[in-house]
Point group: C2
Chain length 339, copies 2
DNA sequence: GTGAAAGCGCTAACAC
DNA sequence: GTGTTAGCGCTTTCAC
């Protein structure tokens, strides 16, 4: 058993000033890289900082300057799902990569599930200069409200009723799903059900609607709709239900590669050949799409680029530069063996 | 194109004081839950807070109180690996779960790879009350040094030369590897190579050493050692090299289930039957262990519990309560079909 | 139980 | 180019 030592209090800017024989303002100027300092004084101050091992106190700095130079990325999702989904990982990489070259520190805020108020108090309390929200379920209402208090950028259309003036970066999920379905139709498939995503998420709703549009445009009867939770297990379960319904099909559009991965596994077990018996397409070009058997034809969305984009826009908002309220990014078709 | 509105400045504690006809000190007491306030005053203040939508300024609060009530979990690893490894996800869940019931906010700090100084300045600048480090590569030297400035708890033995007085929570990786290898020996296996982890990580080194110990204790010749990077791909590549070496084997100990997953895939492709031709054991009871073909016999380490433990210890350090400097947690054998 | 006063460590006008 | 002077919004003795 041990106990923490009393902390020998850290050196202050004041100490650096005395040590270098200059005023606090000058020291502050050096620290903040002001051009109005002679190289000599700068050297003097830097030396004092190094000798003392001085590190600026963030709280004092942000209290005085009203900026924290920190940006939060909020995880509304249950922690485990967030970490398991390669999609999130790539978006985070895009964000981190962009901020790398800016003065902002990225902080991923694991919001308390039992007390969401704590998260929003943290965000509103000046702990960060702005927030990034990867939008998911319908209850991101509180984050949309947060938008009126501090700069917030959503990746993906938020489901809140008042989300219409939220700043967002997204892909056209309707068009993506439509395209994926058209690939099936072009292959001569005529009976095309879908495994849709959760209908309380914008991506889930939009992809379902894209599938409907494609079928209607081709004059085909809409097939059966089974929904899953975007996980492989959810996809597998949805496929079971589809089979259990007894409805025959020769094509299948799945709203995410993860779900398709699970569904393909089940089809293989049942002896359904892909693409011979059924052609399959999905959305997301992640490792599940690549590793599925057979590898999936999918619509790829630029995940890292979206991450970089939300970061870029947020920084523009914070620094009061002009920015786009809505950014729709391009998707592209990646053809593999499942069709 | 849009530009951010000027922010109508947030109400201050001062405003709440005026609104409720009380002093700032009293308002502060209410906010901080001091017992020395009559229920009536409390009600008065609460009403004013609600009407004004007051949210305390974190910077001011932590400047005055010298506490941020925030804890950082540092990701030293490349972002993508962190998010891909189920191990990290579970540790984070354990941490988050524990802090849920404390006044501390969890922040995952994505440390800048190009400028690690930024991360350490953030941590030393009072941005957080303490830090959690999931130890990995040999260069966590800077975090060990950080320990002298603020409370830091390591999950896993850090590789720094001066890491000996770091506060850590870990499992006995040597014993775990030894146990896993003994299972193979007990099955009558006699030629047992290993796919080891990176030798610049404590877990990689210790697991290799446990395998050696088991073999030596049984009077067996040490088999070949191939190292991987703890990923399925790394495991697959290591197995290829093992095969290429021409050395025959009837048992195989792999330092992580992820690597074993990749290795098993390759063995299946080569027609090597598990466990008929080769028995395989590994460490980590994650989804890779469960989903491998065949499912893996592994040593399970309590990931969530370790997360909860590091959080618990860190909070004790911060609040100057006694704590254990070294905590070694139990592992257990999980038997499946790979042996 | 409540209020007054003195900072916490820094930045930002404003003078010089 | 550098120093002086006020605060930033809160907590915290210390009186009452």
């Amino acid at each position: 058993m041990t106990t923490m030592d009393a902390d020998r209090s850290a050196p202050t800017l004041e100490a650096v000033a005395r040590r270098s024989g200059l005023s606090r303002s000058t020291v502050s100027r050096v620290i903040n890289g002001s051009p109005n300092v002679t190289p000599e004084t700068r050297a003097l101050v830097d030396a004092a900082i190094a000798e003392l091992g001085y590190v600026p106190n963030l709280a004092a700095r942000s209290l005085a300057s009203r900026r924290s130079h920190a940006i939060a990325l909020v995880i509304p999702e249950a922690t485990s799902r967030f970490f398991t989904d390669p999609y999130f990982a790539e978006v985070v990489e895009g964000v981190a990569g962009h901020l790398e070259h800016s003065p902002y520190t990225l902080t991923i805020l694991v919001s308390s599930e039992t007390d969401p108020g704590r998260t929003s108090r943290y965000l509103q309390g000046g702990g960060v200069d702005g927030a990034l929200v990867i939008s998911t379920h319908r209850d991101d209402r509180s984050y949309v409200e947060l938008s009126t208090k501090i700069p917030v950028v959503f990746q993906g259309r938020p489901m809140s009723p008042h989300g219409d003036d939220a700043v967002i970066v997204d892909v056209d999920n309707v068009a993506a799903a439509r395209r994926a379905t058209e690939v099936l139709i072009a292959r001569g498939r005529r009976r095309i059900p879908t495994i849709a995503g959760p209908q309380d998420m914008a991506a889930g709703i939009d992809r379902l609607s894209g599938w409907r549009t494609a079928l209607a445009a081709a004059g085909l009867e809409p097939g059966r709709v089974e929904t899953g939770d975007f996980t492989p297990e959810g996809g597998a379960a949805a496929l079971e239900r589809l089979l259990a319904s007894g409805e025959a099909f020769d094509g299948l559009f799945v709203a995410s590669a993860q779900m398709a991965y699970g569904a393909l596994e089940r089809m293989r077990e049942r002896g359904i050949r892909v693409p011979e018996d059924v052609s399959v397409t999905a959305i997301d070009n992640d490792r599940f799409a690549r590793e599925a058997t057979p590898p999936l034809t999918t619509i790829e969305q630029p995940t890292r680029a979206q991450g970089a984009k939300i970061a870029e826009i947020l920084v523009n908002m914070i620094e009061r530069r002009p920015f786009e309220r809505v950014t729709i990014m391009d998707t592209r078709l990646v053809e593999r063996e499942s069709v």
